[in-house]
Protein backbone atom coordinates (compact mmCIF):
# COMPACT_ATOMS: atom_id res chain seq x y z
CA UNK A 1 0.00 0.00 0.00
CA UNK A 2 1.33 3.48 -0.78
CA UNK A 3 1.13 6.57 1.40
CA UNK A 4 -1.18 8.09 -1.22
CA UNK A 5 -3.63 5.23 -0.66
CA UNK A 6 -3.49 5.82 3.10
CA UNK A 7 -4.36 9.47 2.47
CA UNK A 8 -7.46 8.28 0.60
CA UNK A 9 -8.53 5.62 3.09
CA UNK A 10 -8.23 8.01 6.06
CA UNK A 11 -9.44 11.06 4.21
CA UNK A 12 -6.26 12.65 5.49
CA UNK A 13 -4.55 15.96 5.05
CA UNK A 14 -0.85 15.98 4.15
CA UNK A 15 1.06 18.07 6.71
CA UNK A 16 4.55 17.29 5.46
CA UNK A 17 6.13 15.16 2.75
CA UNK A 18 3.87 16.01 -0.20
CA UNK A 19 6.60 14.70 -2.50
CA UNK A 20 6.86 11.33 -0.75
CA UNK A 21 3.36 9.97 -1.28
CA UNK A 22 4.46 7.21 -3.65
CA UNK A 23 6.37 5.46 -0.86
CA UNK A 24 5.40 1.92 0.05
CA UNK A 25 4.06 0.97 3.47
CA UNK A 26 4.15 -2.69 4.53
CA UNK A 27 2.62 -2.67 8.00
CA UNK A 28 1.00 -0.48 10.62
CA UNK A 29 1.33 0.29 14.32
CA UNK A 30 -0.99 2.31 16.57
CA UNK A 31 0.47 3.71 19.80
CA UNK A 32 1.08 6.80 21.89
CA UNK A 33 4.07 5.28 23.66
CA UNK A 34 7.35 5.46 21.80
CA UNK A 35 8.94 2.47 23.55
CA UNK A 36 6.02 0.31 22.47
CA UNK A 37 6.67 1.41 18.93
CA UNK A 38 10.37 0.59 19.33
CA UNK A 39 9.47 -2.83 20.72
CA UNK A 40 6.92 -3.88 18.13
CA UNK A 41 7.12 -1.99 14.87
CA UNK A 42 8.33 -3.65 11.67
CA UNK A 43 10.09 -2.19 8.67
CA UNK A 44 8.50 0.45 6.47
CA UNK A 45 5.50 0.99 8.70
CA UNK A 46 2.92 3.66 9.17
CA UNK A 47 2.61 4.91 12.75
CA UNK A 48 -0.89 5.91 13.87
CA UNK A 49 -0.62 8.11 16.95
CA UNK A 50 -1.94 10.98 19.03
CA UNK A 51 1.57 12.29 19.68
CA UNK A 52 2.22 15.58 17.96
CA UNK A 53 5.84 16.25 18.99
CA UNK A 54 9.30 15.92 17.49
CA UNK A 55 9.87 12.72 19.42
CA UNK A 56 7.40 10.85 17.22
CA UNK A 57 9.50 11.85 14.20
CA UNK A 58 12.73 10.79 15.88
CA UNK A 59 11.22 7.42 16.67
CA UNK A 60 10.08 7.16 13.05
CA UNK A 61 13.58 7.98 11.89
CA UNK A 62 15.13 5.30 14.10
CA UNK A 63 12.67 2.65 12.95
CA UNK A 64 12.46 3.56 9.26
CA UNK A 65 8.81 4.45 9.69
CA UNK A 66 7.64 5.98 6.44
CA UNK A 67 4.60 7.88 7.59
CA UNK A 68 3.00 9.21 10.80
CA UNK A 69 -0.77 9.65 10.98
CA UNK A 70 -2.09 12.06 13.62
CA UNK A 71 -5.57 11.03 14.74
CA UNK A 72 -8.61 13.06 15.85
CA UNK A 73 -7.48 16.06 13.86
CA UNK A 74 -4.59 16.77 16.22
CA UNK A 75 -2.22 19.49 15.11
CA UNK A 76 1.49 18.76 14.71
CA UNK A 77 3.60 21.16 16.76
CA UNK A 78 6.11 23.24 14.83
CA UNK A 79 9.08 21.18 16.04
CA UNK A 80 7.43 18.09 14.66
CA UNK A 81 6.81 19.58 11.23
CA UNK A 82 10.34 21.01 10.92
CA UNK A 83 11.98 17.73 11.87
CA UNK A 84 9.67 15.69 9.63
CA UNK A 85 10.62 17.87 6.64
CA UNK A 86 14.29 17.56 7.50
CA UNK A 87 14.18 13.78 7.93
CA UNK A 88 11.80 13.03 5.06
CA UNK A 89 9.02 11.56 7.16
CA UNK A 90 5.47 12.00 5.90
CA UNK A 91 3.01 13.45 8.43
CA UNK A 92 -0.72 13.08 7.81
CA UNK A 93 -3.68 14.32 9.82
CA UNK A 94 -7.02 12.53 9.95
CA UNK A 95 -10.26 13.37 11.74
CA UNK A 96 -10.81 9.69 12.60
CA UNK A 97 -10.04 8.39 16.10
CA UNK A 98 -7.17 6.00 16.73
CA UNK A 99 -9.55 3.04 16.81
CA UNK A 100 -11.32 3.92 13.61
CA UNK A 101 -8.17 4.90 11.74
CA UNK A 102 -6.51 1.59 12.63
CA UNK A 103 -9.70 -0.28 11.71
CA UNK A 104 -9.88 1.39 8.31
CA UNK A 105 -6.24 0.58 7.57
CA UNK A 106 -6.76 -3.02 8.65
CA UNK A 107 -9.82 -3.29 6.46
CA UNK A 108 -7.83 -2.10 3.49
CA UNK A 109 -5.28 -4.86 3.97
CA UNK A 110 -2.56 -3.50 6.27
CA UNK A 111 -1.43 -5.70 9.15
CA UNK A 112 0.64 -5.26 12.30
CA UNK A 113 3.41 -7.36 10.84
CA UNK A 114 4.27 -8.95 14.20
CA UNK A 115 3.20 -12.13 16.00
CA UNK A 116 0.39 -13.97 14.32
CA UNK A 117 0.91 -12.78 10.76
CA UNK A 118 4.54 -13.84 10.91
CA UNK A 119 3.62 -17.17 12.46
CA UNK A 120 1.28 -17.87 9.54
CA UNK A 121 3.97 -16.96 7.03
CA UNK A 122 6.41 -19.19 8.86
CA UNK A 123 4.00 -22.15 8.73
CA UNK A 124 3.32 -21.57 5.06
CA UNK A 125 7.04 -21.63 4.34
CA UNK A 126 7.48 -25.05 5.96
Amino acid sequence: MTVAEIVKVLDAKVISGEDLLDRDVHSACGSDLMSDVLAFVKDQSVLVTGLTNAQAVRTAEMMDIVCIVLVRGKTADSGMIDLARDRSVVVLQTEYSMFTACGLLYESGLRGGGGRANAKKFKAAL
Partner: protein, 143 residues
Protein backbone atom coordinates in the same frame (compact mmCIF):
# COMPACT_ATOMS: atom_id res chain seq x y z
CA UNK B 1 35.86 -0.57 7.31
CA UNK B 2 38.36 1.19 9.60
CA UNK B 3 39.86 -1.03 12.27
CA UNK B 4 38.60 0.95 15.20
CA UNK B 5 36.17 3.83 15.13
CA UNK B 6 35.48 5.83 18.28
CA UNK B 7 32.70 8.36 18.62
CA UNK B 8 31.75 10.59 21.52
CA UNK B 9 28.42 12.31 22.09
CA UNK B 10 27.46 14.83 24.78
CA UNK B 11 23.80 14.48 25.62
CA UNK B 12 22.04 17.58 26.92
CA UNK B 13 19.45 17.08 29.62
CA UNK B 14 17.85 20.46 28.98
CA UNK B 15 16.10 19.96 25.70
CA UNK B 16 13.73 16.99 25.42
CA UNK B 17 13.07 17.70 21.75
CA UNK B 18 16.71 16.89 20.96
CA UNK B 19 16.64 13.51 22.71
CA UNK B 20 17.60 10.98 20.06
CA UNK B 21 19.73 13.27 17.92
CA UNK B 22 22.96 11.42 18.80
CA UNK B 23 21.35 8.08 17.97
CA UNK B 24 20.19 9.43 14.63
CA UNK B 25 23.75 10.59 13.90
CA UNK B 26 25.19 7.20 14.81
CA UNK B 27 22.66 5.54 12.55
CA UNK B 28 24.01 7.57 9.62
CA UNK B 29 27.56 6.50 10.46
CA UNK B 30 26.55 2.83 10.61
CA UNK B 31 24.86 3.18 7.22
CA UNK B 32 27.99 4.70 5.72
CA UNK B 33 30.04 1.82 7.13
CA UNK B 34 27.74 -0.52 5.24
CA UNK B 35 26.57 -2.54 8.24
CA UNK B 36 23.54 -4.79 7.72
CA UNK B 37 20.12 -3.27 8.27
CA UNK B 38 19.37 -5.67 11.11
CA UNK B 39 22.53 -4.66 13.00
CA UNK B 40 21.78 -0.99 12.37
CA UNK B 41 18.29 -1.49 13.72
CA UNK B 42 19.47 -3.21 16.89
CA UNK B 43 22.15 -0.62 17.64
CA UNK B 44 19.73 2.21 16.89
CA UNK B 45 17.05 0.94 19.25
CA UNK B 46 19.52 0.14 22.03
CA UNK B 47 21.20 3.54 21.88
CA UNK B 48 18.01 5.55 21.33
CA UNK B 49 16.33 4.03 24.40
CA UNK B 50 19.46 4.65 26.44
CA UNK B 51 19.79 8.21 25.18
CA UNK B 52 16.17 8.99 26.03
CA UNK B 53 16.60 7.51 29.50
CA UNK B 54 19.58 9.81 30.10
CA UNK B 55 17.54 12.82 29.08
CA UNK B 56 14.29 12.06 30.92
CA UNK B 57 15.66 10.37 34.04
CA UNK B 58 19.20 11.69 34.52
CA UNK B 59 19.53 15.20 33.07
CA UNK B 60 21.83 14.14 30.25
CA UNK B 61 25.29 12.57 30.11
CA UNK B 62 27.76 11.18 27.61
CA UNK B 63 27.71 8.32 25.13
CA UNK B 64 30.88 6.67 23.85
CA UNK B 65 30.66 4.35 20.91
CA UNK B 66 33.39 2.05 19.68
CA UNK B 67 33.10 0.06 16.50
CA UNK B 68 35.60 -2.63 15.58
CA UNK B 69 35.43 -5.61 13.26
CA UNK B 70 33.69 -7.73 15.91
CA UNK B 71 31.13 -5.50 17.58
CA UNK B 72 29.61 -2.13 18.36
CA UNK B 73 30.17 -1.15 22.00
CA UNK B 74 28.13 1.54 23.71
CA UNK B 75 28.89 3.20 27.05
CA UNK B 76 26.20 5.55 28.34
CA UNK B 77 27.27 7.48 31.40
CA UNK B 78 25.28 9.94 33.49
CA UNK B 79 25.50 11.60 36.88
CA UNK B 80 21.77 11.45 37.52
CA UNK B 81 19.86 10.04 40.49
CA UNK B 82 20.91 6.43 39.82
CA UNK B 83 18.73 3.31 39.90
CA UNK B 84 18.27 1.76 43.33
CA UNK B 85 16.66 -1.49 42.23
CA UNK B 86 18.06 -2.52 38.88
CA UNK B 87 16.12 -5.81 38.71
CA UNK B 88 12.89 -3.92 39.16
CA UNK B 89 13.85 -1.26 36.60
CA UNK B 90 14.56 -4.02 34.05
CA UNK B 91 10.98 -5.36 34.31
CA UNK B 92 8.70 -4.69 31.37
CA UNK B 93 6.22 -2.00 32.33
CA UNK B 94 8.13 -0.61 35.31
CA UNK B 95 8.49 3.16 35.05
CA UNK B 96 8.89 6.12 37.34
CA UNK B 97 8.23 8.62 34.53
CA UNK B 98 6.17 11.63 35.55
CA UNK B 99 2.83 12.48 34.00
CA UNK B 100 4.36 15.24 31.89
CA UNK B 101 7.03 12.89 30.55
CA UNK B 102 4.34 10.30 29.76
CA UNK B 103 2.36 12.84 27.80
CA UNK B 104 5.40 13.16 25.51
CA UNK B 105 5.26 9.47 24.67
CA UNK B 106 7.69 8.02 27.19
CA UNK B 107 7.10 5.88 30.26
CA UNK B 108 5.94 2.54 28.87
CA UNK B 109 8.63 0.95 31.01
CA UNK B 110 9.93 -0.79 27.90
CA UNK B 111 13.23 1.03 27.37
CA UNK B 112 15.59 -1.13 29.44
CA UNK B 113 13.89 -4.39 28.31
CA UNK B 114 14.24 -3.21 24.69
CA UNK B 115 17.92 -2.48 25.29
CA UNK B 116 18.49 -5.93 26.73
CA UNK B 117 16.58 -7.57 23.90
CA UNK B 118 18.59 -5.89 21.17
CA UNK B 119 22.07 -6.17 22.69
CA UNK B 120 24.24 -9.26 23.02
CA UNK B 121 25.73 -8.00 26.27
CA UNK B 122 24.35 -5.47 28.72
CA UNK B 123 25.48 -4.37 32.16
CA UNK B 124 24.23 -1.56 34.37
CA UNK B 125 26.40 0.03 37.05
CA UNK B 126 24.41 2.40 39.17
CA UNK B 127 24.81 4.10 42.53
CA UNK B 128 21.91 6.12 43.93
CA UNK B 129 22.88 9.76 44.14
CA UNK B 130 25.99 9.27 42.00
CA UNK B 131 24.85 8.12 38.58
CA UNK B 132 24.38 5.31 36.12
CA UNK B 133 26.58 3.74 33.48
CA UNK B 134 25.09 1.33 30.97
CA UNK B 135 27.39 -0.91 28.91
CA UNK B 136 26.07 -2.64 25.79
CA UNK B 137 27.66 -4.65 23.02
CA UNK B 138 26.12 -5.74 19.75
CA UNK B 139 28.10 -8.38 17.86
CA UNK B 140 28.49 -7.75 14.14
CA UNK B 141 28.63 -11.40 13.16
CA UNK B 142 25.22 -12.45 14.40
CA UNK B 143 21.98 -11.49 12.78
Amino acid sequence: MPKNLKLHYDISGEDYTRAGEASAQLKQVLRQLGLSSSIIRRVSIAMYEGEINMVIHANGGTIDVEIDSACVSLILKDTGPGISEIDLAMKEGYSTASESVRSMGFGAGMGLPNMRKHSDYMKIDSTPGVGTTVYMKIALGEE
